[in-house]
Symmetry: C2
Subunit: 327 residues, 2 copies
Amino acid sequence: MIKKNVTINDVAKYAGVSRSMVSYVLCHGERGSSTPETREKVYNAVKALGYRVNHTARSLRSGKTRNIGVVLPSLQMYLYELIVELEKSFRKYDYTLTYNFFERSSNLDGFIAAMERQFQTNVDAVITPSFEYTAPSPVPIIIWGNKVPGFDCVFVDKETYGHDVIRRLLSLGHRKIAVCGRLTEVRYKGMRDELAAHGLDFYARLSTQNADLQQRGIAAIREIAALKELPDVIIFHDDELALSAVGAAFDSGWKIPDDISVVSYGRTPLSGAVRPTLATYDIDWKRTADMLASVTLKRLENPGMPFQQMSVTAEFVPGNSLKNKTV
Amino acid sequence: MIKKNVTINDVAKYAGVSRSMVSYVLCHGERGSSTPETREKVYNAVKALGYRVNHTARSLRSGKTRNIGVVLPSLQMYLYELIVELEKSFRKYDYTLTYNFFERSSNLDGFIAAMERQFQTNVDAVITPSFEYTAPSPVPIIIWGNKVPGFDCVFVDKETYGHDVIRRLLSLGHRKIAVCGRLTEVRYKGMRDELAAHGLDFYARLSTQNADLQQRGIAAIREIAALKELPDVIIFHDDELALSAVGAAFDSGWKIPDDISVVSYGRTPLSGAVRPTLATYDIDWKRTADMLASVTLKRLENPGMPFQQMSVTAEFVPGNSLKNKTV
DNA sequence: TTGTATGCGTTATCAT
DNA sequence: ATGATAACGCATACAA
C-alpha cells in the first residue's frame, strides 16, 4: 500500500502547463480547442504521475456526487439479484450506489432513519420501495416495486400478476385457492377481482408475519391444517416463504403437489434446484435495474420532466409444485 | 420534493454568529468552549433552517470521506447476509459503504477494474476477498475471507474447518469421502491432511466450474454416477451448490442420506427449510461484519499499526442430509 | 469566547 | 490556445 496524493497542480507542473489547462484537457479532450501537443503533454503527465481526479473535489465544485442511495428492507435474500444488477446498470453511467437497510418489522422509524442517512451523504437521488417518506426530500426519490402517484416508479404490475395467477390456477382446475402473504398488497386485489369474476373468493387467507423464515413456513402450514378441508393450492408471497412452507408440509406428511399445490412469486436461483421444483413467477432483475437507472438519470438531467411510471411483467415459471387437476 | 441548499453561512446569519462559530459548535458541541447561549442559537438555527452538513465539503476539507468500498464477486446469493450485516456494523461509526461486483468467471481484469472503480470515488478503505491487486493502493485494503500476509484479514479459519469436517465424517462412519468445489482452496488441504492422518485420501474430487447453478449440480451428480462405486458422502463447497446437487440426485433416484450423505458449508436461510435439511457449517456474518468494521476503523485511525489477522470459526449445523453410519 | 483568514482540489468564466 | 481567478462548503489555526 503506497500513499500518494497527486493533484491537478502536480500534473500541471509536470506537464509545464497551467492547472486550468489540465482540467480543460481532461474534461474536453479532443473536442476542446487545445493543441494536440498540449494534450499529449497532459496525458503523459497524468500517466507518469498516476493522477486520478479527486472525486470529492469535483463533487463539491459541480454539486453532483454521481452517487445514488438505495434504501432496502433487510432480511430478504432475493434482493441480492437486484443489488448486483443495479450496480451493473448504474456503472455504465459512472454512477455509484450506497445502500442503507431497514427492518420491515420495525415501524416506520427504521425506514425514515435509513432515508435520513442517505441524505447526510450527498446522494444525487434515492431509490426505495417504500414511499412513506413524507418529509421534503433534498433529492429526487425513485420508487421501486410500487406504483405511487407523484413519483417516478419502476414496478412489476402486480395487479396484472394477480389476475394472471388466478386465471392460470382456474384453468388448471383449482378452485379452493388459499393465499399466504402481506394481504394488503395490490396483487391480492387483482386476485380477488379475478376470482370474483368467476363467482369465487379466496378459500383462505393466511397472513404470517413471523420474522424467522422457518417459523413462517411452519405457522402457514399449521393454519392450513386447521381448516376443515385442505385447499387445492396455496399462493405464497415469495419463494423463501414458499420453500419453508413446503418443508413444513413435508414434515406434516403432505405430498406436494398431490395433496396440495403450491405456486409462488419471485424466482430465486434455488426455486428450480429444490424438489419438487417450485412453480413461481420470475422478475426480470436486469430489466428492472436498467429501467431504474434510465429513469433516474433522466430525472437528474431534466428535473421538470413529468413523472415516469414504468412497469415490468412477471413471467410464469413452471414447476412440479403445481398440479394440473384437469387431467 | 423540495430543493433547498442551506449552508453553514445561512445558519450563521440566522443565528447571528460567525460561520466558524457554527462549525465549531457543531463539531465540538458541549465539550467545546462555546457559551450555552451560543450553542442554543446555533441549534435553533440548524433546526429552523433544516441544515445538514455538506458531506462532500467536509470530506474535501478533512481528506476523509467516511466511505468504505466493498468489492465482491457477483452471483453468490449468500453474500446478501454479509452486505446487510456490514451496513449495520459500519453504520454505528457513521461510515457508508459502496459496492462493486466482479465476475468470478472472468479473469483477473474484472476484479482489477472493480478495485479501480472504487479508487475513483475516494473511499477511505476497500474491503475485498480477493487480494491479487498488486498495483499500489491509495487506501488500506482489508481482506475478507482469506488469510494473506501483509494485509489486515478477517476470515473463517478454513483449514481448521477442513480438519473438523473430516473428523466429523470419520466419526460418523464415513470412509469414501468425495469433495466438490474449488479444490485449490486451503480448506481442501485441511481435509486432505486430516484424511492422511488416518491413512486415507479423497475418494473422488469433483471440480465443477459451470456458471449456472442447476447445471453445476447436475454435472456434479453425473460425475459421481460415473464412479465405480458411490461415495459415502460428498462435501460441497457451499449450500447453493449442495442444494442443486441434491435436486439432481433426487432426479437420479438416489435417496439422501440413505444412498449418499451430503454435507456443505455456508448456511443460508434455506438450508434448514428444504427436505432433507442440509447439514452444513454456519458462518457468523454479524461477527464477521463487526470484525471487519473494527479492524478497518483501527487501521484508518492508526495506519502504522501491525497487520491484524482475525479468524472466525465455522460452526457445524446438523441436518438430515448427513447419516450416522455407525448406528 | 468569538471572528478572520486560509486552503482542501476542482472547474467555469473571463481575460489575454 | 492558454492562464489567472473565483467559488463550491467546510474546518482549522490563529488573532482578537
